[in-house]
């Protein structure tokens, strides 16, 4: 009887809290969209004038030497692509393999050591990795592969793979871990081997989480600047041949980082650098849209099969 009026008094307070909290949460949900939108608007405002100031044929030419007015962005785009693709070629198989090992095969004690170690690797500042890359990795690559110089796209790819790996492993492992135990037991009961269970049942069931892991890994790789700038040599060479992977390359991020600090605000060079930022933004957007499209299609197919 006594408790009743008290609860009644608390009621409006709780409603009020409820209203505020739900608004705050809704706001933070929308804020991500607003921020991305504003960033894109800013990039467009600063970057689009480049299309007016530099003829398209020059903008998409193969020579980047901004202090003399050569604004060909193709070497930078191909440079970023070759370094990122190289990094993914290493990081995806290794990352998913490590995640499968940690989640499916490793004994409990090994898992408890491995997972924190991998996450620790993720916390390593990229400058430190870049420094190691410059002092250890690039001389090693030069000698091992008999290259003119070790400061190549490959060195950048390997470092980026190292930077993307922890992200991929950590998220993919969570996804694999979330697959219900009954799936594995069912597969094993049907006579599938351990490998068949992992490859045919667990991994496909965790598909969307694993794909998310890969996407976030690519996102980290393509946006990484410092480590790449230290080991790729930054020569703006058009990277279109297979051999370009063992030649120096200049990425979009390294170009922006190296040149933005000294550029006169409002100059053509400044606008072109923002235009490169825009291209970078659109590439990440395309990667994300493609990934969610794949996940969405697979999810609907899976639902069809189940129903």
């Amino acid at each position: 009887m006594r408790a009743h009026p008290r609860a009644g008094a608390a009621e409006p307070l709780r409603n009020w809290q409820e209203a505020v909290l739900s608004r705050v949460i809704r706001l933070s949900g929308y804020s991500a969209i607003v921020f991305v939108g504003l960033i894109f608007l800013f990039l467009v405002r600063e970057g689009l004038p480049a299309l007016v100031e530099v003829p398209l044929a020059d903008l998409f030419s193969a020579r980047w030497y901004p202090i003399e007015g050569y604004f060909g962005v193709l070497p930078l785009i191909t440079g970023s692509l070759i370094v990122t693709v190289g990094a993914m070629a290493v990081a995806i198989p290794f990352g998913i393999g490590t995640a499968m090992f940690i989640s499916e095969i490793a004994p409990r004690w090994a898992r408890e050591v491995l997972k924190p170690m991998v996450e620790l690797l993720g916390g390593l500042p990229s400058v430190v990795l870049g420094f190691l890359g410059m002092l250890v990795l690039s001389p090693f690559l030069r000698q091992a592969l008999d290259l003119p110089t070790g400061l190549t796209a490959l060195a950048g790819s390997l470092l980026l793979a190292g930077i993307a790996l922890p992200t991929i492993v950590s998220i993919a492992e969570d996804a694999l871990d979330a697959v219900p135990k009954s799936y594995r037991e069912g597969a094993l009961a049907l006579g599938a081997t351990r490998w068949q269970t992992m490859w045919g049942v667990t991994l496909p069931a965790a598909r969307s989480g694993v794909l998310t892991a890969v996407m976030l890994g690519i996102g980290r790789a393509i946006g990484e600047t410092m480590a790449v700038m230290m080991v790729t040599g930054n020569a703006p060479v058009l990277a279109v041949r297979l051999a370009s992977i063992v030649a120096p390359a200049r990425t979009m991020t390294a170009t922006i980082a190296a040149e933005m600090g000294e550029v006169a605000s409002g100059s053509t060079h400044y606008h072109v650098l923002f235009f490169i930022g825009m291209v970078l933004f659109l590439i990440s957007l395309a990667v994300n849209v493609a990934a969610s499209a794949v996940v969405f299609r697979q999810r609907t197919r899976a639902e069809r099969v189940l129903s």
Partner: protein, 309 residues
């Protein structure tokens, strides 16, 4: 390799100096409050980005020695500094080139007679791996190497190895000076460019590390930044000419070809605080800062402007 090396490597000296200059400026009012409010003398100093670090270091030290003097330093380029001098908005203009005749005429038309002081020298050393047998090159050969016409050390008397060209980033003053003086051989009508496969490294240290471990590499850097364990190339102006190694002596007698004077111009004969500051700049103490920052100090026998005040 400890962390401080990494930090030292990554943070450009300019950022540090600006930070220190801000710090020094921030301390200003406090020290003013301590000393009687002396008529603060004010020197406005603007110009070349090549010299801005040096000018900041000088200004900072000078303000420690003479707290009553305020020195404001900014960059922008040699042209910006000289234009400001002509317009009468600065007391001292820093320039990495001599004043042009048309700038001189414009200044005189406004009743200003710029007076030139050589305050330091800047030399660029060309460096290769210590095991590289090539020890001397002409300017023409250097130009051909960096523009991509020569691609193997064999062509300049070395081993059969590919040449890996190293350069600073395009926004570095050293890059632009090397482009004009070496790649284009000082010809203003030339439009020769660095070969596209030239590695553009973000720091002097990056070039030094790569040259130290890669026998294919050739690089360049300010003379003061070159460590002793690398091979420095002797450079000749012409094929027949003497091959000269860069040093304080050869830079000061102008026999080393990849060197230039750095200037401060004052509007008319300097007077008051500016004159005292210029005299201090040419003193041994200020010139030791020159050496610390990788430039070449001017030799003591250079024109007796030190007695300007």
């Amino acid at each position: 390799m400890d962390l401080s090396t990494i930090i030292a490597m990554m943070s450009s000296p300019r950022v540090l100096l600006i930070a220190m200059a801000i710090l020094a400026a921030g301390c200003g009012p406090a020290s003013n409050a301590a000393t009687p409010p002396a008529a603060a003398e004010y020197i406005e100093n603007r110009g070349s980005d090549t010299i801005v670090n040096l000018a900041l270091a000088w200004a900072e030290r000078y303000q420690q020695l003479y707290p009553e003097v305020r020195i404001s330093v900014s960059g922008g380029g040699s042209g910006v500094g000289i234009t400001a001098l002509i317009n009468g908005t600065v007391d001292l203009a820093n320039a990495s080139r001599q004043i042009k005749p048309e700038e001189m005429q414009e200044a005189q038309a406004r009743g200003i007679q710029p007076v030139e002081f050589v305050i330091a020298r800047d030399a660029i050393a060309v460096i290769v791996h210590p095991d590289n047998p090539v020890g001397q090159l002409t300017l023409q050969q250097l130009s051909d190497i960096y523009s991509g016409k020569i691609n193997n050390w064999r062509e300049v008397g070395g081993e059969d190895r590919p040449i890996v060209r190293l350069s600073r980033e395009t926004n570095s003053g050293t890059h632009v000076y090397f482009l004009e003086t070496v790649v284009r051989l000082g010809r203003s009508d030339s439009d020769t460019l660095f070969s596209a496969d030239t590695l553009l490294l973000p720091s002097s240290e990056g070039i030094v590390y790569e040259v130290r471990q890669n026998p294919n590499a050739i690089g360049y850097d300010g003379l003061g930044y070159v460590p002793a364990d690398l091979r420095v190339i002797a450079v000749a102006r012409d094929a027949g000419g003497p091959f000269v190694l860069p040093s304080v002596a050869t830079v000061n007698d102008q026999s080393y070809p990849v060197a230039r004077d750095l200037y401060i111009y004052s509007a008319g004969e300097p007077a008051g605080a500016a004159a005292a500051y210029l005299a201090w700049i040419l003193s041994p103490e200020a010139q030791s800062i020159v050496a610390d920052l990788g430039f070449v100090p001017v030799a003591a026998e250079s024109p007796g402007q030190a007695q300007a005040d």
